[in-house]
Amino acid sequence: MQTRWRILWAHFTLVFALLLVVMPLPTWANMLRPDWPLLVVGYWVLALPHRISIGTAFAVGFFVDVMVGTVLGVNAAGYAVVAFVLAANHLKIRNFSILQQAFLIGLLLAMYHLLIFWISHFLTGVYFRAAYLWPVVTGMLVWPYVFLLLRRLRRQLKIQ
């Protein structure tokens, strides 16, 4: 029973990542804000794909939609797609070095941003600006730290 409930720690990190989405920041930093929940969900999907997978990613994406104010379901779809790619290839990606992982995560972040831009473009007619893609770069830069921190947490707390 003890080990069964330790997964709640993973959910706690997800809630914390959601907090970081709405944390007030100065304007210039706002554009650079990485997609924290996506990075954290990505880590847990790689580490424990049998516990945290597309369903959880969808739920987290839905909460991001609610908190960020995009059309409901847009981020949920983007998160589910990224989680699918990670879960389907988790055995391969786990064997990559952290830098290789960071590049792969960058690719997935770019795919996620273009996907939600594409859906939002059809729904509300937004215009594309290159500045939308800053979180891809910052997300790539913070991935090694997110990865090492969460791996340490998982090992210390024996989350499985």
């Binding site: 907090l19 709405v22 597309i54 908190m67 960020v68 949920a76 699918f84 007619g125 499985q160």
Partner: protein, 295 residues
Amino acid sequence: MKPIFERGPSLSLRLFLALVASAGLITLDQYTNSSAQLRSFLTASVSPLFYLANLPQDVMFGASEQFKSHQKILEENQVLKNTVLLQNGQLQRLQFLQQENDKLRALLGAQPVTAGKRLIAEVLAVYSHPFSHQIVLNKGSNDGVSVGQPLLDDLGVLGQVVSVGPNSSRALLIVDNTHAISARVERTGLAVVAEGIGQSDTLRVIHLPHSTDVQEGDRLVTSGLDGVFPEGYPIARVNKVNRDPRQPFLQVTAEPYAKLDRIRYVLLAWPHTGTSQADPEMLAPPDDVKAKEQH
């Protein structure tokens, strides 16, 4: 422990289900009438998260207020007193002008314009996601906030309320991609439409023929024609006019007066609709405003 055999549906099936669910959500949110209710319920249920996220900033702000030096507070007090003196002087003149205006309107047989009720609300969250420029306020239906209500601050028009929860509400800013506001060029009186393009410092004035008289530096004010915003409030300053004959219309952009990315307090206005609703209670400043004035 990782099971050797897969349990539950396969990954592709799960992805398919997630995509179908999100398509359902998108349809529900975008194309049905229940979206406002759903949104307000969801906003209310995640509002603890917003309070938590704001906590560090509030604590820092409180701490810096605590440790402000006596000298600084005295200086600030002096500046504030000067401002009050100046504005009181202008206010006396305003009352005189208001009376004069009322008399003139009475002579013309037009309805007198009275100030509606005002309420100060604090901003809990600013969304500046490129696809959605919205703010969440700490006042909701319990305070009488309703959908479609205009928001102002000391510099100009901010936006309008789009969904209301019991203790919080969500407002669309004028720079949002889906928002357009009916404006009037103050210099010429020309009625125009200014729409947001998803950047917090730019509005676009659309559908102006090439012969239109618009210049850089023109002030855009609300026209009141949209029935949402009260007439005569400043919106934006025209900062670029591109007369490219190859384009069907003039390309005009304007910069909002309000600093839309750093709002802390907003003024909720109840749009005034004729004399019949002007009960004396509405004309008195609400308790909230009085409380703010005493601080």
